[in-house]
Symmetry: C2
Subunit: 451 residues, 2 copies
Amino acid sequence: MTEQTTTEHIARSDTAELTTPYTIISSDTHAGLPTELYRDYLATKHHAAFDRFMSEREAQLKAITDLGVRNEDFAANWFETNEEVLRSGWEVDRRDLELDKDGVVGEVIFPDADAVESRTCVPFGAGLGLSGDLDPELGLAGAQAHNRWLAELCKTSPERRRGVALIPITAALDDVLKEIRRIKADGLGAVMIPAMWMNQTPYHDRRYDPVWALCEELELPVVTHSGPADREAYGNHLGIYVTEVTWWPSRPLWFLLWSGVFERFPRLRFGVTEAGCWWVGNLLWFTDRLLLGSRGAAKLAGFEEIKLLPSEYFDRNCFIGASNTKRREIGMRYEIGIGNICWGNDFPHPEGTWPETLNILRKTFSDVPIAETRVMLGEAVADVYGFDLAALKPHAERVGVTPATLGQVNADGSAKDLTTKWAAAAEIGRHWLTGHDTGAAINPNAPAQEV
Amino acid sequence: MTEQTTTEHIARSDTAELTTPYTIISSDTHAGLPTELYRDYLATKHHAAFDRFMSEREAQLKAITDLGVRNEDFAANWFETNEEVLRSGWEVDRRDLELDKDGVVGEVIFPDADAVESRTCVPFGAGLGLSGDLDPELGLAGAQAHNRWLAELCKTSPERRRGVALIPITAALDDVLKEIRRIKADGLGAVMIPAMWMNQTPYHDRRYDPVWALCEELELPVVTHSGPADREAYGNHLGIYVTEVTWWPSRPLWFLLWSGVFERFPRLRFGVTEAGCWWVGNLLWFTDRLLLGSRGAAKLAGFEEIKLLPSEYFDRNCFIGASNTKRREIGMRYEIGIGNICWGNDFPHPEGTWPETLNILRKTFSDVPIAETRVMLGEAVADVYGFDLAALKPHAERVGVTPATLGQVNADGSAKDLTTKWAAAAEIGRHWLTGHDTGAAINPNAPAQEV
């Protein structure tokens, strides 16, 4: 990976490289109807249940307020200030306007446009909170309602959008497979599974093999998204929730890895979204060493299904929807794998980079090699989700974010040295595989920045 | 911390510093009786239950074999090869001999001397597997049996030993407090709590405040130890177990932190044992940023109980029994905090450094400043568990591990430059607090070593 990236970089370090616009694709945006409007996308037989669900909305709001996820003052101000612009959560023209202003030409769309008080939540809890303990029939019905609406949204400027279908895979297998085929035919581009199986069968189980097989066949990446967690254990301690909220959606990754799913389905893609990527280097180091140690066959046994190193499966099968990628994470990119990092703006959630994406990208990427930036801001996510970069080119040219926008060229437009400070880190890469004795290197004289 | 360590280092860089033996204290050893012998330490009323427990031993063995934790061939060879030496798990003279040979003069003793097939497991599952779903009465009875025996062991060469009492804090509060007072009076030096509360009340709950208050008052560090995990979810996939087995015992740390336990009990010490320390830097970065962000009072609310930064509580209240500390972790020490890292040999478990401790320490520490090595190999754990370094001095001199043993001086006995390569990392420290923009720095030209 290191060698390849370096060569690629050198080949591109010409004038065109310095001036060609970035094709920025967000691996993590959100769209959803105001909840009451999902009624029209539900089968009539579920309308009574939907009316009950709507009547329980106050209790749901109280629950997120108690945990501290919702702050009433902040919420009031948020909706007052952003009333118009938040309609971009479901109105496509406003949406494109906001994405353009934010420098983003493509998007991977998750549910729940409103993260402040769930005004656009999917019926029956089947949105970001999708989890194994939903009522199987209603959970699937709610998911379908959103999937139907989302497919309509994605049919506008389809080159810019990949809609992520909600698929509660712990429900009846036949229904699950049928819905996966349906959403593929309807133009959606990925499958979000519950981050937590809860009281259902864990994801190492072979019962899910038909799901992985179908997603591989239909070239639908399988993803989790942060949100679900062990909430009942936290009382009203928001800090516990936030500390763990990245772990739960990441957990299926090692359940699939160690149970041989990536061995049996070598073209399956699995991604973790909005759970950071700061944990990936440690995970790969830890699991690679475990497997290498097991090959010495000491105390432990039981890795017969695993033929490659965990880091090799990760490079081949996995990716990270890294959303608002932090400087610490950028510093870890040679361990994580540059091609595994898919930046995202989390539009239109307040914890994302929107509407300050360009300012934040400038802070985060101004000293990062341009070729690597192109990968993390667009090429990696295009590869995973099958965006057509040629089709996006006119949008990229219109929006016009270039290396100059991100501060990656000198004031006179000439090339900056963006490689020297990272050369050691690039050479070390995954130190446990490259014969180096410890982790990522950085330039200690780099200026203080957002971390 | 950085400044202090540097000053301390310079002050010590004299001849005495180069030749003074290390006082090596293992933060993680194991001792336990062959299970059948615990019968004599149980009250008569529990003998019938104990006989039933012993009769179920085959089923327990099968469970760990199915998960792959036990490999029959390895186990057979292990016991045949080490029959004599494994008696050091409960016979004190052999134990001291093994510790001496391994260079270790002090030890913090956890249960379960045998990690291969649990031949020395504590009755009723109350050993390393201590968890919230034990039968409250039997769990406490089993714990007491071990606590009684361990106190006897520690009365031999008490300056060398700190026994960790097993305290199932999810049991009846009065019984718990009574047992804590009893083990303190009986000479034990710390309290191990269940790593997982299971179906009992999570550790943020105020119901446990009397436990924390008493441990603070009696100067008993509270610790977890790796072992428990969500085993029912793993099927027979050992990789999943090993990948998660460090997370579950670490989890109570952020439950205590965010629920204000370290604010209410400022002298309480809490430690996580044999779960690595590679995750600490990320945790402190993530949680410090969360708290700093909350002070800006944006979307989130609810940190009223937290007055310090998480990293400040960590430095004051927490420590890591880092056992077989890896090079990657050594490279992270300026983020973790040198004084928070307590090395251990995990004696007599096969995954520890025993009986190769000196060779492994030479590989791991040969380029690490001597003053820092002294902290991680002994001074930090002495501070937490109250070892008397003066009383251990004769043992250290007899055992005779010096900086020369670890390759930290030149062949002619003169000082090596052990600081230049780490200077940048030391200066950066916790980059998010020191105005630097990313993580740990290393010397990329360092030779390949065990990672």
